[in-house]
């Protein structure tokens, strides 16, 4: 980040999955980032990033995506995306429209319905980049916790797009953050495996199989928990853990938390009031972690 993340205003872009299945994530972000002097600004008319339509119509996808960028640019703000899917959707839109004047004109003609204009002047940050660049001292380290990282595909691929948050085949920012928080991390063969969330639409059993194979591996390797940064991945590993247990007739019980929630724990924030770990949308166990950290 240009200014080290301090004293910045950022437009908080939620998308659709954060407010429905990840408002514990939203709450944690709203609690943690202001402590680092980041002022989060809500865009009163933001909406879907359009990604669901990418498979059927590029124009619909790009219009829905570009209108959110245009809303932030109207306020002269850079954007903070909490979801990998939204993040890449906005990044690709910006790239395609900036590279192709005809396409940009076409999309802007449609956006004129709402008196909006995509300019391409704003920067879109993924939460991973921001957390990595702001992290400072830790009052209550995650000593003794061995945490498996899960980046999610759209945070790292494709590497050819400019300004990617991390390396496509060997990302390390999550590891560096967790180590700074006092946790142990370790590479493992399934580290970059896809969560399979989109497959829910085609065949949910495939999603459950992909999700379970990763959680099973994490258990076998002796990790205490998993850290994620994307609500679509979290939906598979946390929210769907019960369905996996029912489908594969087994106990999984792996705590899965957003990276920022681990960060909040090191800042002595309240697991329920500040980090939403007991909301109905968080279903994997948290007690083993809280016990280990004596919270």
């Amino acid at each position: 980040m240009d200014e080290g993340g301090i004293g910045m205003d950022l437009a908080l872009y939620l998308g659709c999955t954060v407010p429905t299945y990840g408002y514990d994530y939203e709450l944690s972000i709203r609690k943690v980032l202001p402590k680092y002097d980041i002022n989060l600004v809500d865009l009163p008319t933001a909406g879907c990033c359009g990604l669901p339509f990418a498979d059927i119509d590029s124009t619909a996808w790009l219009v829905m995506s570009a209108r959110n960028i245009a809303l932030a640019e109207e306020e002269n703000l850079d954007i903070l995306s909490l979801c990998n899917g939204c993040y890449l959707s906005l990044e690709e839109t910006k790239h395609f429209l900036t590279e192709d004047q005809d396409l940009k004109d076409k999309i802007n003609q449609i956006l004129a319905e709402e008196d909006l204009e995509f300019k391409g002047t704003s920067t879109n940050y993924l939460v991973l980049t921001v957390l990595h660049d702001i992290i400072q001292s830790v009052t209550k380290p995650l000593t003794g916790l061995k945490i498996a990282t899960h980046y999610g595909c759209h945070s790292i691929r494709p590497s050819k797009l400019p300004g990617r948050p991390d390396d496509a085949e060997t990302p390390m920012k999550m590891e560096r953050i967790l180590e700074a928080l006092g946790a142990d991390t370790m590479d493992y063969p399934e580290r970059l495996a896809c969560c399979g969330t989109k497959e829910y639409a085609y065949d949910p059993e495939i999603t459950l199989k992909l999700g379970y194979s990763k959680l099973k591996a994490i258990k076998e390797y002796g990790f205490d928990a998993m850290a994620t940064i994307c609500p679509l991945c979290q939906y598979v590993y946390d929210y769907s853990q019960g369905s996996m247990e029912a489908t594969f007739k087994t106990k999984i019980q792996v705590p899965v938390l957003y990276l920022v929630q681990f960060m909040g724990l090191t800042m002595e924030m309240d697991p329920e009031e500040d980090l939403g770990l007991e909301f109905m949308i968080h279903t994997s166990p948290i007690e083993p972690i809280l016990e280990k950290l004596q919270i």
Binding site: C48, D57, K198
Partner: protein, 171 residues
């Protein structure tokens, strides 16, 4: 897709030309069948007949009609591993996306649950997901502000200018 005999006389160069206009620089003709895409594909391991290198091979030979009528093309999970690893920058995920877009354009209903529901949710709220089931808990959390509310009339007007217009009722 179950193995079938494809006869070259049935290939359709015009349909291939359509795909070419949709994939940008990702020219399917550059594929030399190294199979790195399928080797790294998480769906290929789970679903018979989902083989990105086969989709690309069929595309470059012009068997587009066979592909767009094959339900399997909709199973891509868009992990982008094939895009990352393709040494020829063919990017099978982009070829597959062009195929599903063409299928939609040609009037084939997407055989994936929920896509139309997501569209209808957007017309209702501006968001692709249904909020009703979490509203109760979310509203009780003091530190969460009210959600952004996009203008539905504007969104409808914009989507009417896209191919999704065919899913919208005449008004």
């Amino acid at each position: 897709m179950t193995p079938t005999v494809l006869e070259t006389k049935n290939a359709d160069p015009k349909a291939l030309a359509k795909i070419r206009t949709m994939v940008g620089d990702h020219e399917p003709g550059y594929c030399y069948q190294c199979i790195k895409c399928t080797s790294g594909c998480p769906i290929s391991r789970q679903l018979d007949g989902f083989n990105p290198h086969v989709f690309v091979a069929m595309t470059r030979m012009g068997f587009i009609d066979e592909l767009i009528n094959d339900k399997t093309i909709w199973a891509c999970v868009t992990c982008l591993t094939c895009k990352e690893r393709c040494p020829q920058d063919v990017s099978p995920v982009e070829v597959i996306r062009a195929l599903t877009q063409l299928a939609f354009k040609e009037g084939i209903d997407p055989p994936v649950a929920g896509l139309k529901v997501q569209f209808e949710n957007i017309l209702k709220s501006g968001y692709s997901r249904d909020f009703t089931w979490v509203e109760g808990e979310r509203e009780d959390i003091d530190d969460l502000p009210e959600l952004p509310k996009p203008s539905l009339a504007k969104i409808k007007a914009m989507l009417r200018k896209t191919n999704l217009a065919k899913w919208m009722k005449e008004e």
